[in-house]
Subunit: 164 residues, 2 copies
């Protein structure tokens, strides 16, 4: 009833493509985004060949990108007994890694400001003040957001294992 490609509904393919486009603006590669999108909408974990087939991409790219996404905690490797292929699925606690990545990125900016040699600001009170102010805002927001992330983590954990 279907040749190789027909596995994906048109609407699904469409959504995957939009997710991929979004991921591109977030600094991932397009294929990385497609992989993520595909797995987000996948019923079960998928093999490299499965992904390559569905996404019409080379296995080389799939291999590199899956591992890259895995390193960032977005994907997880899983195995199936009696099968030597590697399967990938979207991380269980998905929002944690994706949000953490964002946190990390902007934490890096704070660090940049903290490391700013003192002599830079020394000359000018207005610069010093601006730097201090910016840094304080970042610290505050980072802390608040980190807390929120943890709260969500706990909340979601407890809703999954409702208390005895």
């Amino acid at each position: 009833m279907s040749r190789r490609e027909a596995t994906l509904q048109a609407s699904t393919a469409d959504l995957i493509e939009r997710i991929a486009l979004f991921f591109e603006t977030e600094g991932f590669s397009r294929i990385g985004g497609r992989i993520f999108g595909r797995l987000l909408l996948a019923d079960a974990a998928m093999s490299l060949d499965g992904l390559a087939g569905d996404l019409a991409a080379s296995k080389a790219s799939i291999s590199t990108e899956t591992r890259s996404l895995e390193r960032r905690g977005i994907l997880e490797r899983v195995g199936k007994p009696g099968d030597r292929r590697v399967y990938y699925q979207v991380a269980a606690e998905l929002p944690i890694p994706t949000m953490s990545l964002r946190l990390d990125r902007w934490r890096r900016f704070s660090q940049l400001l903290e490391e700013a040699p003192a002599d830079i600001a020394r000359g000018s009170p207005v610069v010093r003040h601006r730097l201090d102010d910016t840094l304080q805002a970042h610290r505050y927001l980072l802390a608040e957001f980190g807390d929120a992330l943890q709260r969500w983590h706990r909340r979601s954990a407890s809703s999954r294992h409702p208390r005895a």
Copy 2:
């Protein structure tokens, strides 16, 4: 005591460059980042030529990038009486626009998920559940972070105009 280029201390130039590199990972152009960095460390607003000189970039790029940064609320245009040049400075409430930009970007992802045609998830309970879960997390975190941003806004406003 100094030819054209010597206006920037080495340590300053260095920090600007690192800021620019960071901005690049955030989806801005390198020059955009340099402009931001330069103005962040600037005593006073700067003209296009001033920026072009300091950053050793073409005036064309400076013009395009400043306007792009202005559109995103990161820079502000200011004028000086008796001078027909345009001056730029970093926005007063800097963290607001930068953080809002981030918020917007990931709000866009939530939207993607919300618009996900129902028929996509319908087939599979596991997909539907994953989508719902992800969406809820995003909503929660977006709300929390939005609140934090407002709190900071109020706090910083009141510290600037200490109550009579």
